[in-house]
């Protein structure tokens, strides 16, 4: 049945989600960090994790940004085909982002042009991905993506006949090369399949999955487990001080792909993985 939703509701939801994502660390990530602290044997690594955990509690209590890089705003919309949005959907998302960054005292980190580089002072524009689904609801997922970890993310187009071990090696090498730049312990999002752009988009969406869960397909879950083990064997550790926790988790999303290709994207997300979700 057709349902009408005022775009103002979507604007408010986007605003609330970005404020929440930037000030309140995801409970699954927080638990992951606490578990990691128990596993660390080095005092330095435990100290860094303690600071990171305390940081989350200060941010929440004082409504401060968890990290000063409050990111570029990425919004995933799953729009039910029986939903009619009264007003302008795209504008309401942008307005929600602008309000969140103003009222939340978040940093405007977006420049108008990749070469001219003038700050837009609003953190606009956001990046919006839309998908049409059945039903009459709208699902909104937001990510405030910092660039410390975005800058070390990678994509490689594998050959269809390349062994899984070479894919694992690529992911592990990407994390190794990143070192302590992406603020470890990180959450590693992997997109496999589709096209070049699809794989990258999946790799970013992958970090929405709560930490601790694995992919529904057994062979992919196995890959996640194996990569996590190898990555933690790098011993980069929290904040790069060496230690047992370089990554909190690995989340893979897959999509069918072409007979000639096997795209693999690695999107690294810092320990301050900031995302939130709501359905209207």
């Amino acid at each position: 049945m057709t349902r009408i939703v005022d775009s103002k509701l979507i604007q408010d939801a986007v605003k609330d989600l970005f404020i929440k994502a930037n000030t309140s660390l995801r409970p699954d990530i927080l638990s992951g960090l606490k578990l990691a602290r128990k596993k660390e044997t080095s005092e330095k690594a435990r100290y860094c994790l303690s600071v990171i955990i305390k940081n989350a509690s200060i941010a929440k209590k004082k409504m401060l940004a968890i990290c000063q890089d409050t990111g570029m705003a990425v919004v995933y919309l799953k729009v039910g085909q029986s939903l009619v949005v009264k007003g302008n959907l795209k504008n309401s998302v942008a307005k929600g982002v602008a309000l969140a960054y103003k009222e939340g005292y978040f940093r405007s980190s977006v420049v108008n042009d990749p070469l001219i580089r003038k700050n837009t002072n609003t953190n606009l524009p956001p990046i919006i991905y839309t998908d049409i689904v059945s039903g009459n609801k709208i699902n909104i997922k937001v990510v405030a993506k910092g660039f410390g970890c975005e800058n070390v993310s990678k994509i490689r187009m594998f050959k269809p006949t390349d062994p899984v071990s070479s894919i694992e090696e690529f992911i592990v090498d990407t994390v190794k090369e990143a070192g302590s730049r992406p603020c470890p312990p990180v959450y590693i999002g992997i997109g496999m399949g589709g096209t070049l752009d699809k794989a990258v988009s999946l790799s970013k969406e992958a970090i929405f999955r709560p930490l601790g869960r694995s992919n529904e397909y057994k062979h992919i879950a196995q890959l996640e487990k194996s990569v996590l083990k190898k990555v933690n064997n790098l011993k980069i550790g929290p904040a790069g001080v060496r230690g047992n926790t370089t990554a909190l988790g690995v989340s893979v999303l897959t999509y069918p792909t072409h007979i000639a290709g096997l795209p693999v994207a690695v999107n690294i997300s810092c320990h301050a993985t900031r995302s939130a979700e709501a359905t209207i």
């Binding site: 100290y47 940004a65 990290c67 940093r107 904040a239």
Partner: protein, 190 residues
Amino acid sequence: MLPALRKQLYNILPFPFAEREKVSVMKKIILPLTKNIIKTLKQGEMVLLSGTVLTARDAAHKRLADTLKSGKKIPVLLKGETIYYTGPTPARIGRVIGSCGPTTSSRMDPFTLLLLKYGLIGMVGKGERSEEVNLAIKKHGAVYFVTIGGAGAYLSEKVKSAEVIAYKDLGPEAIYRLTVENFPAIVGVL
């Protein structure tokens, strides 16, 4: 306290008591840095910095370097100075500064050699530097500290004053003068 007992306490005490215990054994460094202070530091050592630092990140570095290369005067004196690579969030009312954790230092690598030549002696950021920068830091008797990335809210509590002193038009990338107190860092390169 005996080291063994301290370690045991550290293991059983809940945070934040555990953290206080650890902090109490970290070496305190008073800024501005001098070559003599730097000589006492060891790589990997955890320290607490107190005093003033300048902030600068990508856009400010580029402008500083361009100005120096064109033979003009820059608005700050780099001699004996420490630069913290950060771009804070705006301060809420009643607060000194917003979140202000470190940004990735290697992006500043192309400008660092020049700034070292002009007397820069300390840097605070996150992540590894290029081999070229590491060598230059050693050559100049300077030091690079790393601090905890993504702990911007925690680190903002260690900042006691903040003032924009140059390049205001760069917004979050402006050069600030910060006064920090017991700001945690790890000796990275010296």
